[in-house]
Symmetry: C2
Subunit: 202 residues, 2 copies
DNA sequence: ATTTTTCTTGCAGAGTGTGTAAACTTACGC
DNA sequence: GCGTAAGTTTACACACTCTGCAAGAAAAAT
């Protein structure tokens, strides 16, 4: 992976990953999430205000909302755009089974952080309210995926496939389903879908 | 169906269905939902405030929140308690296949209104934000159902079954899946689950 | 008729989230 | 370098959501 650094000048191209701006944005995003995560883990969601998070992260209240739409989203560290343009293109030009490619698409969400999913599980376990927030976010994610899926297969089939894949995803996110940490891989999702299918036809 | 009216005195037992209090509560709940539904359908969610709904429904702002936790919930007419004690008991003492009984449980949610699901679909179609609110509500519903399911079948099987049933339920609520109006019957849910299973094993 | 319980309402207040415009920082061309 | 363009942060003001509390109104129980 090239870092897009210009070999002649040593400067970065505008707003590409690696530019000063992008690095700073990633940094403040991370600062906000970290602050929210730790505060909520300690005090509980209801006893943390956005203002608290902001002072801890050393940003203004207004900046907070430039990065996250809500306190819950910040605590969970939910990405603003769940499907990157790159993932979308790869999916649209995919050749495999729809379900398999959907699993691939879904499992490639951009996290700031490798232990992102781990943090989500921890918080959800101690703050069930956050599960609702997570599902709300997932709803937007799902909408986008449906749009993409309908460009590969039309109508009902697409919706059914998406429903299955998200059922599997939620099972993985829901703590208690499996003790495993870390994000769900495409293979694991595919396996869970097989399980779902077998349960349906008992 | 007995109305619980006391044959001697002609009065109603306290707080049972048919008592004056219960009727009035149902009435104001309905008034609030109707007002919210129509206003949101006309102006869109963002251009309706809780205060607007309250003046239309002729209740105080404070009363609004005694019936619905949010503007979106009122517009959609989402019931406060999704699973009645009665449904829960019937499910727990059920004898059929877990999946089938879950379909029965899920499809028996208490609606104030026969065309409740129809209204939900209409609103969601013009206000995608409401889909998120719906999923959030569904999240709480799901939690309760998981509790119940785990009392009939333990651990993973219960979770898998619930995931399937809710996948089907969401498909039905989501406009665009099927043109049919009205609430989803247990049989329709069961059929959708079969479809899901067939999509999984292509 | 009186007491008790439940529901409604008004008020006050903390907290969330948005529009706007000014200050500031980074990027780019020269 | 240097000046302009573009993007980001910040303060301020403001509408709105939602909750707690206590007094009043309505219904049920005695």
């Amino acid at each position: 992976m090239s870092t897009a650094r210009d070999a002649m000048t040593g400067t970065f191209a505008a707003d590409e990953p690696g530019s000063l701006r992008e690095r700073k944005k990633k940094q403040t995003r991370r600062a906000i999430h970290d602050a929210a995560y730790h505060l909520v883990a300690e005090r509980g969601l209801a006893h943390v205000t956005v203002a608290d998070v902001c002072t801890t992260a050393a940003v203004s209240d207004r900046t907070f909302f430039n990065y996250f739409p809500s306190k819950a989203a910040a605590a969970l560290g939910l990405p603003g755009t769940a499907v990157t343009e790159e993932s979308a293109q790869r999916f649209l030009s995919g050749t495999g089974e729809l379900i398999d490619d959907l699993c691939e698409l879904i499992s490639s969400l951009p996290s700031d952080d490798e232990d992102g999913v781990q943090r989500i599980r921890e918080l959800v376990k101690i703050e069930p309210h956050l599960l609702a927030a997570l599902h709300q976010w997932t709803s937007g994610f799902r909408q986008r995926v449906i749009e993409l899926a309908e460009q590969r297969s039309s109508g009902q089939t697409a919706r059914l496939a998406v429903a299955l894949v998200f059922a599997a995803l939620i099972l993985h996110a829901d703590s208690g389903y499996t003790g495993r940490a870390g994000r769900a891989s495409a293979a694991e999702l595919r396996r869970t879908i097989s399980l779902l299918s077998s349960v349906a036809t008992d």
